[in-house]
């Protein structure tokens, strides 16, 4: 048993590309071993540092035995050339070729004897292709070469069974050497096995294994925060990025001048995280502190690294502070007029136009939400002013949040400030969801205005392109409604938004927008339900002929059925429905159509009567429930008809000789199905 060990040395590959390349390699290597029926340790590892992409597979046999096999060649009637080609490609002679009849005719055959193949040879033959198969999300060329790679690839070290594997990958010849100095790309050294390789670098403080790096970084950070009584935010994405931009992690705790803590913390945090890849710290009450972590790639023996980073953050934070001080006092209300100079979108007017529409819309929503019309109108009016501030120019990702801080500083109502701050939330599937009604109202009106606008000027996303992230907007709208359990008349709101556009002179086709947007939003609801792991047939049923005002209902019903489908109430409900609808479907084919009105006067026995009575009871139940339907209760009631239905089918023959009786029985079954439609149309559910 031997090990395969390969290192691809390159200039610094970005974190995301590294992670992707590791996954690609893992998949490709696994496929290679499986396709070639070579045993290997399936729990093998792929490692990376910015400069080294490494895989190490052990428990590989040195040889594999290929059983003898008969290889089919061309048909005996095929032109002679085909036979010649067959002989050549199998490296054999005419004498060894024989004819044999098969189901498909008579063919030439060649018997390949069982033989042994050296795995090292197979690897040398295939490694280049394994590497070629890596799909990079982003790749580049360099110098005169034609190879595409994440960043310039400099050397390949490849070892099998302690011996070098020799192959050519584009312009690079593999060897048993690598650069031990990644900076100057010097210090060529021979390695013959993975262990000594790992050991060598470990002695230099370099950790090839990313998981080990992560552990060490986290341990060091935890050690310090425990001592200092601090906390850090669990930010996996940032940690994973940091882990993959160092090979020799050194955690350094730094601080900045406490005076900067007067600047809103989001600004400080964004500066530290997204610009500098620092980890901010918080005290036990979750307040940001002036301590932060730098993960350097070098031991800071002279203290230069700490000093340098502190100077950098100081410069960045004084920039931010300067803008904050300058912008916070600029009167929001007085600036609203200036929004006329800022285009919202070509064909949809300025931001001033947009907030006029949003104000109307949010004011209408406020009636449904029972919140103050004045407050939501103020929030709508000032919500886009921060787009003109230097701070948003510097930190575009903080739009809204910065506006919220300005509003707070200028003494606006607390709920208004929060609404401004949360107006862009949620932003897609994963993002935080606003809960307060003012925030929800503002966010809803922002999104509706955008959706109606983009559909109005016919910039709908296509199946492959969505440059304005309109899908995300609609998903966010769906989330706002269903997750907050909001009951609104979305259809009316769309019509109203159209009229707000029309008031400004836009020639929008309300009917068309309403129809298209309605389909679009319901499609998003379907995607949303899919993300929530709802069964596809339940999604189809719950959204069948769905009206836009019933998003929340559809969501809750599908959630409820999904949860109960394997339990009695779900299972029985569907069974009863299916049993009835199947008969109706068969009869419909021979064109007996029913309307769902059975005539009790035509009933011949108690089973019919009992079933009728039960259906009637269920109908009364559905009539009695108002807006506060308990969907589990509904399922329970539907399923409770089970006995009546079973008795009916066991004792009554639907297919009566008298066509009138027969039809009436079918009407009864249709009545049952229609009653079940009060929940939703179960016909698409698969059993």
């Amino acid at each position: 048993m031997s090990e395969l060990f390969v290192e691809l040395f390159s200039e610094e590959i970005p974190a995301k590309l590294q992670i992707n390349a590791r996954n690609e390699l893992k998949k490709n290597i696994k496929n290679f071993f499986i396709d070639n029926q070579i045993k290997f340790n399936e729990n093998f590892n792929v490692y990376s540092t910015p400069n080294r992409l490494v895989f190490h597979v052990d428990k590989i046999p040195n040889e594999i035995k290929l059983n003898s096999e008969e290889i089919r060649g061309p048909n005996v009637n095929a032109p002679e050339k085909a036979l010649e080609g067959f002989i050549r490609s199998n490296n054999t002679t005419l004498e060894k070729i024989f004819k044999k009849s098969t189901e498909k005719g008579e063919f030439y055959f060649f018997k390949k004897e069982s033989r042994k193949i050296k795995v090292s040879e197979l690897l040398e033959k295939n490694l280049s292709e394994i590497l070629t198969k890596i799909t990079w999300n982003k790749s580049m060329k360099w110098a005169n070469y034609d190879l595409y790679w994440g960043r310039p690839l400099k050397s390949i070290l490849a070892i099998f069974n302690k011996k070098p594997l020799n192959f050519v990958f584009n312009h690079i010849n593999s060897s048993n050497k690598t650069f031990t100095d990644k900076s100057l790309e010097e210090g060529l050294k021979i390695f013959n096995d993975f262990n000594s390789y790992i050991k060598f670098f470990k002695q230099k403080g370099i950790l090839i294994d990313q998981d080990l790096r992560k552990k060490i970084i986290q341990n060091k950070i935890n050690e310090i925060i425990n001592k200092k009584n601090l906390k850090i935010e669990q930010n996996e994405r940032l940690i994973d990025e940091i882990v993959n931009i160092v090979e020799k992690p050194a955690v350094i705790i730094c601080d900045f001048d406490k005076k900067f803590l007067n600047v809103p913390s989001e600004i400080l945090i964004t500066t530290m995280q997204s610009h500098q890849k620092y980890l901010p710290t918080f005290d036990k009450k979750n307040n940001l502190t002036n301590n932060f972590f730098v993960v350097a790639d070098i031991k800071d023996t002279k203290g230069f690294v700490k000093l340098g980073n502190e100077r950098v953050i100081e410069a960045r934070l004084s920039d931010a502070e300067f803008f904050w001080e300058k912008n916070k006092t600029q009167n929001l209300v007085k600036q609203v007029d200036k929004l006329k100079n800022i285009n919202y979108f070509k064909g949809l007017g300025s931001y001033f136009d947009k907030i006029q529409r949003m104000r109307k819309l949010s004011s209408l929503i406020s009636d449904d939400f029972l919140i103050s019309k004045d407050k939501i109108e103020i929030a709508s009016s000032i919500c886009k002013v921060d787009l003109m501030s230097d701070l948003v120019g510097e930190f575009p990702e903080l739009q809204g949040i910065v506006g919220g801080h300005f509003a707070k500083f200028q003494g606006f109502d607390k709920e208004v400030c929060l609404a401004v701050s949360e107006q862009y939330l949620p932003n897609g599937m994963e993002s935080k969801l606003p809960k307060k009604m003012y925030s929800v109202a503002l966010s809803l009106s922002d999104k509706l205005d955008s959706l109606v606008g983009f559909f109005g000027i016919n910039l709908k996303p296509t199946s492959s392109k969505d440059p304005y992230a309109i899908r995300r907007m609609a998903i966010s709208l769906v989330r706002l409604i269903v997750e907050n359990e909001i009951k609104i008349k979305l259809k009316d709101l769309i019509v109203y938004t159209c009229s707000a556009y029309r008031d400004q002179g836009y020639d929008f086709d309300t009917k068309k927008i309403q129809n298209e947007l309605s389909d679009f939003i319901i499609e998003r609801l379907k995607n949303y339900l899919k993300e929530k792991k709802i069964r596809q047939d339940i999604i189809e049923s719950s959204t069948f002929l769905l009206g836009l005002d019933d998003l929340l209902k559809a969501y809750k019903k599908s959630l409820c059925l999904n949860k109960n489908i394997k339990k009695e109430i779900g299972f029985e409900t569907i069974a009863v429905y299916k049993r009835s609808s199947n008969i109706l479907n068969t009869e419909e084919k021979i064109s007996i159509e029913t309307l769902g009105f059975a005539d009790p006067g035509l009933f011949k026995n108690d089973y019919e009567k009992k079933l009728y009575k039960k259906i009637d009871d269920i109908r009364k139940y559905f009539l009695s429930i108002g807006k506060d339907e308990n969907y589990e209760e509904s399922l329970k009631i539907l399923s409770s008809i089970k006995n009546e239905v079973n008795d009916f089918f066991d004792n009554v023959i639907v297919n009566d000789e008298d066509i009138i009786i027969k039809k009436n029985r079918l009407e009864l079954l249709n009545m049952l199905c229609k009653t079940f439609d009060n929940y939703f149309n179960f016909s698409k559910i698969e059993t």
Partner: protein
């Protein structure tokens, strides 16, 4: 090689001298700044045009760069509307370019073994040049001091061979070397002349011009005239003069942008117009290279 790095702080001008000497020894043609207003060293025809086509090319030069929107009337310690870049362009990109770069840092007193030097992903794109590249920004103890880019596309044309571009932000670099918090405190020469002595007034006045006084009506007209002229010169197949007119267009656009008279939608349109000019010039240039 002997560099002036001992003990005394390296002045701004010595930093330039050392970089010039270093890259000169590496075989680069040391050019002087281009004599037009440009936004970055990349716009110098020695980079844009020379990176196109098959001929090898190595150059290094200082380029004064203008970014009207970054002006702060000389009040901000980190921002300028006029600053200096030291630009290196080598085609095809050499194998040992990282080593060359790290050693260039040593030539200006930064020992890469004592500092946290990081190559942080930064893919570069210039919409007006129709250019794109992959590479990094180089951090020294958290401070961005260099842009390091492998050109993949220039003037809308795929680069073959690929050039590597190294752009040092001289002010940032010197603030690091001289340990200064404000750009205006940088020591320019051994006599103690500071950056403030030389540039503070111009920062103030140009900020006023860029943000308040530039005659936008005229600039709009000038843009049109320059654009027309560029197109005419492209027809005549003289790429270098055409490129000059295009650079002027680009600068006029930058001032208009700083004056805040270009809306978001218009902005995209102007950028497209400049890119189309660059592309047509690139075509003419390449034809002349084969």
């Amino acid at each position: 090689m002997v560099y002036k790095t001992k003990k005394k702080t390296l002045s701004f001008q010595d930093t330039i001298f050392n970089l010039q000497k270093y890259w000169s020894k590496k075989g680069c043609v040391i050019l002087q700044p281009y004599d037009l207003e440009v936004g970055a060293g990349t716009f110098h025809p020695a980079t844009t045009l020379r990176s196109l086509g098959p001929k090898p090319w190595k150059t290094a030069y200082v380029q004064p760069s203008r970014r009207p929107t970054d002006g702060r009337y000389g009040d901000n310690p980190n921002r300028l509307q006029h600053y200096y870049q030291f630009q290196v362009l080598i085609k095809p990109s050499p194998k040992e370019i990282k080593k060359m770069y790290l050693n260039s840092l040593s030539s200006i007193g930064i020992n890469y073994e004592e500092h946290d030097i990081r190559f942080v992903e930064d893919d570069w794109e210039s919409p007006t040049l129709g250019a794109a590249g992959l590479g990094w920004e180089v951090w020294c103890d958290g401070m961005e001091v260099t842009q390091f880019t492998y050109f993949q596309q220039m003037a809308g044309v795929e680069c073959k061979p690929v050039s590597v571009e190294i752009t040092y932000g001289l002010e940032r670099l010197c603030m690091f070397i001289q340990n200064k918090k404000s750009v205006f405190d940088l020591i320019w020469n051994d006599e103690g002349i500071t950056y403030k002595d030389i540039f503070h007034k111009s920062e103030k006045e140009f900020s006023a011009y860029n943000f308040e006084y530039a005659n936008t009506d005229n600039l709009f007209k000038i843009f049109e005239m320059l654009e027309e002229e560029t197109k005419l010169l492209v027809e005549k197949k003289i790429s270098l003069p055409a490129y000059d007119q295009c650079l002027k267009c680009s600068h006029v656009f930058n001032i208009l942008d700083a004056r805040g008279v270009i809306s978001v939608a218009q902005r995209a349109e102007y950028i497209t117009r400049i890119r189309e000019l660059t592309k047509s010039i690139g075509k003419v240039w390449i034809e002349s290279q084969s």
